[in-house]
Amino acid sequence: MSARRLGLAIAVATAIACGGGQTRLNLFSTNWEDDGGASIARVWQRVGKATIPPSVDVVIGVAGHADKMIGLPLAGGSKWTFAHPLDTRPVVAGAVVVGSGGGEAFALDASSGRVIWRRPTGQIALLGAGDDGAVTVVAFRDAGGSGSVLLAVTHDGQVVRQIETSMSLGAPAVIDRLAFVPWAGQYVSVVDLLNGDEMARVTLRDETSRAWTEGGSLWFGGAGFTRFDEHIRDASKGKASWATVKIPTLPGQPKLMRSANAPVGALADAQDKVRVYARPKGTDAGISIEDGRWYGTYFRLAMGFDASAAKLGWVHLNGADFVGAAAAPGGIVLCDEQGKVTELDARTGGILSEQDLGESVKACVVNVDAQPASGTPSGAKTLAGQLADAVLADDPQLVAMQTVLLRDLAEAADESATKALVDLASDPRTSPELLPEARRALAARRNGATFMEAALARHYDFLKDVLRAPPVAPIAQALGAMKDRSAAPLLATHLLDPADSDEDVMQAAAALAIVGGQDELPTMRQFFGMYRATADDDDVAAAVVSVGKALLALDGPAGRARVDAAVKDAMTVEYARDRLGELVAAASPAPVDAGKKK
C-alpha cells in the first residue's frame, strides 16, 4: 500500500470511527441500463419543489504563496482572511467555502471565514463541492489520479458518507441530503447520503462534469447548462431543459466551464484568464441566458457578447489581468490579479462598482447567486470608443484578441472608429500583427475624413522624433473613395516625401488622380518629372501613371505635351511608358499646340 493510499485509509478509518456509513457496491456502476428517466423523475418528484437557498455572494482571493485566502462578501460585511496552505483552488458551495491543502480539507463560513469543519484527507485533491446548509459533499481526485473520493461532512464535522470509486467524479451539488454527482463526463447519479444508495441516475447528452445550485435551481453543466426540472426525465433523449452559448472562434479557445474532472491548481493559469462566463436562467419555456449576454475575458480585457448572435456588445480594458469572474443578473463580477473586484453592467460594460481585496492575488473565485449587478454604469463609452481603447492598448499579450476586436472596430459606423484606426495605423508601437489589418480597415472607411487629414498633415521628421510616416496609403484610398477634394493639398505633399513607402506614394497619386485640382498641378508636374525615369519599382511607376492621368485631365495642352513627351522618351521607365501610352491613346487627339512643354 502506498503512502498515499495509507493516508486515505487512515482518513477513511477516521471517517468510519466518526460514524460514517459504508456504501453500496453498485454505485457508479457502468453495468446500468437507462431506465428511461424513471428514477430521476422520482427524485424530481421528491425534491423538485424544495426551496434551494441562495449561495453566498462572495469573492475569494488566493493570496500570499497560495497559503492565504481573502474573502470579500459582496452583499456587505467585513473582509476576512484565512491562513492555510492550498493545493487546489477553493470552491464556494452554498454558504461555505471548501478548500484543501496541507493534508486536510476544510469548510469555512463564506461570509465570515469561520471554520465550519476540517478533516484530514492526505494528498487527495479537491475537485468540487456542494452544500445544502447542513451537509457538505466534497469530491476529490484520489492520490493516484485514477479514481475519486466523495466525502459528505455535516456542518458539525461528522463524516456521514465516504465513497471511493474508480470512476472520474466531477463537482457535486446537494439538495435535501441528496448528492447529485456528475461522473464519467455524461452521468449524474443521485446518492442518498443517509444510506449511500444511488437512487437515480440520468444520462446527459453533452459533456457534463459539474452540478451546482444557482438562482433557486439545480444545474448540471460542462459544455452547456441542463436544468434539473420536470424535463430531466427525458434527458437521455436529448429533451432536457438545456441551453448553451454560441462562442465564436476566439483566441485561446476559451471555455464556458473548466472540467471538474481534474483538480484546478491553487494558482491562476491561462485558462482562468481566458474564459467565458454565462449565467443560465430558468424560464417558463425552459432556460435562457441571463440578460441575453455571455462574457469573455482575455487577460486585461472583458467583453460582453449578445447571447443569440455572439455579437460583441462591449469591451472593457482593465489595468490588470482578470483571473476570476462570475456572471450575475444584470452584469458580471470580475476579479483581477491586483485584487480589484469590478462589477460591469451587462448592457454597456460600464463600471457599476469597484471593490478591493486589499492585496494582489494569485487566483480568484467569484460566486454570485442572488445579488444582481445594479446601479448606474459609469465610464461607459460607445462601443467604438471601447474598441479603440482595447485595440490601442500597448500590451503584447492582447494582440491576438485585438486582431479580433479590430474587425468589430472596422464595422463600427461612428467617426471615432476611424480616428482609432488612424491612431492604430500611425502608432509605431502597434504590433506588426495588427498593422496590416488596421490599414485594411482604414482604407475601407468612408467617414472621419478630418481625422485622416490631420494624420496626413504629419510627416516623418527625424529631428522632431516623428519616426513613422502616417498611414498614407490606406488614408489615400479612403479619401479617394470619398472624393474628398479638401484632402488634395495634403496628399500632394506626400508625393514628394521620401520617408513614405512606395505603396503610400502609389495610393496618394491614385487619390490625387481623383481629387486633385489646379492647386496640386505644380507638385504633380514636379513628381512626374522626377520619377518618370527614375521610378525604381512598379508602385512608384504606377504613381507616375496616376499623376500622368491627372495631368492629362487638369493641365490642358501643357499636360498633354508633358505626357506625350514621356511616352516618346526611352528613358521613361517601361511600366509607366506603356501605361501612359495607353492613357494618351485613349484620350482625345492632342491639341494643336501640344508638344510644347510647359
Partner: protein, 287 residues
C-alpha cells in the same frame, strides 16, 4: 574627429574650398588641401546637346560642363530644365553632381527638389551639391535634410551647413546634435555665437567627448574677432575641468597646432590646462 562618420569625411573633403576660407587654412585633423581644378571652356553646343534628349549626348554635355567647373554656370538653367523634365537615374546623378561643380546658386532650387528624392543615392548627391551651390535656397533645403530618414544625408547636411556660414541654422544643428547627428558639432563650432559656443561646451559630459571637441576645435581656431579670447579661455577651462586623459590629449593637440602669432593669453591657458591634466589616467604621461 574620430567619431565622425566616413560619409561626413567625404563631405568635409568636398567642402574644402569653402572650409579653407572659413578657417584661414586651419582645419581639423584629417582634412586635406584640394587643388583648385583647372576649368575647360564650355563647348558652344553644350546646351543644345543637353536638351537634345539623346542620353549619350546629354552625358557628354554634362561632362563638358563639369570640366568647365564654375565656367559651366551658363548651362545651369538647361541642366535644371532637363532634370525637372526627368532623366535616367545615372544621368540624374551626373546632372546633380555637375550642378554642384558649377557652384552656381541658381542650381539650388532644382537640387533642393532632388534632395527629397526617394532614391537615397540621389538625395545624398543633391545634398552634397547643395553644399557647393549655397545660397538661401540651399540653406533651407539642407536644414530640411537634417530631418531626412537617412543618417548619411543628415550627416552630410549638417556638415554642409557648417561650411556655408548658415548661422541661422545653429538652432537646428543643436537639435540634430541632440539626436546624435555627430557631424552637427563641428558645424556648430564653425557657426556659433559666443552663447551658442558656450552651450556646445556645456555638452561635455553628456555628449561623447570626441563629438563635442570636434566642434570646440573649430571654435578655438576661428580667427579674427569672430570669437573672443575670453570665450576660448573659457572653453579651454571647460575641457581642463574634465581632468581626463582624453581631455589632456585634446588639449595637447590644440597646443601643438596653436599658431605662434595668435593670442598668448589663450596659449597660456592651453599650456596650463595641458599641465593640469597631464597626470590624468590615460593622458600619455604629460607634455
Amino acid at each position: 574627429m574620430r567619431v565622425i562618420s566616413a560619409s561626413a569625411l567625404v563631405v568635409a573633403l568636398a567642402l574644402l574650398p569653402s572650409a579653407a576660407s572659413a578657417q584661414n587654412d586651419r582645419r581639423p585633423a584629417g582634412a586635406k588641401t584640394a587643388e583648385t581644378p583647372r576649368s575647360t571652356p564650355l563647348p558652344r553646343d553644350t546646351i543644345k546637346r543637353l536638351k537634345g534628349g539623346d542620353p549619350a549626348q546629354v552625358k557628354a554635355a554634362l561632362d563638358d560642363v563639369r570640366m568647365a567647373a564654375k565656367d559651366g554656370s551658363p548651362a545651369v538653367p538647361a541642366i535644371a530644365e532637363v532634370l525637372r523634365a526627368g532623366l535616367s537615374p545615372m544621368l540624374t546623378q551626373a546632372a546633380i553632381e555637375t550642378l554642384g561643380d558649377t557652384e552656381s546658386e541658381g542650381a539650388s532650387e532644382v537640387l533642393g527638389s532632388y534632395s527629397r528624392h526617394r532614391n537615397v543615392v540621389l538625395r545624398r548627391a543633391a545634398v552634397l551639391a547643395l553644399s557647393r551651390t549655397r545660397g538661401a535656397v540651399a540653406t533651407k533645403a539642407l536644414r530640411a535634410s537634417l530631418s531626412d530618414p537617412d543618417a548619411a544625408v543628415r550627416a552630410t547636411a549638417a556638415t554642409a551647413l557648417g561650411g556655408m556660414a548658415a548661422k541661422d541654422a545653429v538652432s537646428d544643428l543643436f537639435v540634430a546634435l541632440d539626436h546624435k547627428v555627430a557631424e552637427a558639432a563641428a558645424s556648430i563650432g564653425q557657426l556659433c555665437a559666443a552663447q551658442e559656443c558656450d552651450r556646445l561646451a556645456s555638452k561635455l559630459g553628456s555628449v561623447p567627448f570626441d563629438v563635442v571637441t570636434s566642434g570646440l576645435d573649430q571654435v578655438l581656431f576661428r580667427g579674427g574677432k569672430d570669437v573672443s579670447d575670453d570665450l576660448k579661455v573659457k572653453i579651454v577651462g571647460r575641457v581642463r575641468e574634465l581632468g581626463t586623459g582624453e581631455a589632456n590629449r585634446f588639449l595637447r593637440e590644440v597646443q601643438g597646432k596653436w599658431p605662434l602669432a595668435w593670442s598668448q593669453r589663450v596659449r597660456q591657458a592651453i599650456d596650463q590646462a595641458v599641465l593640469a591634466t597631464s597626470s590624468s589616467p590615460g593622458s600619455g604621461g604629460g607634455q
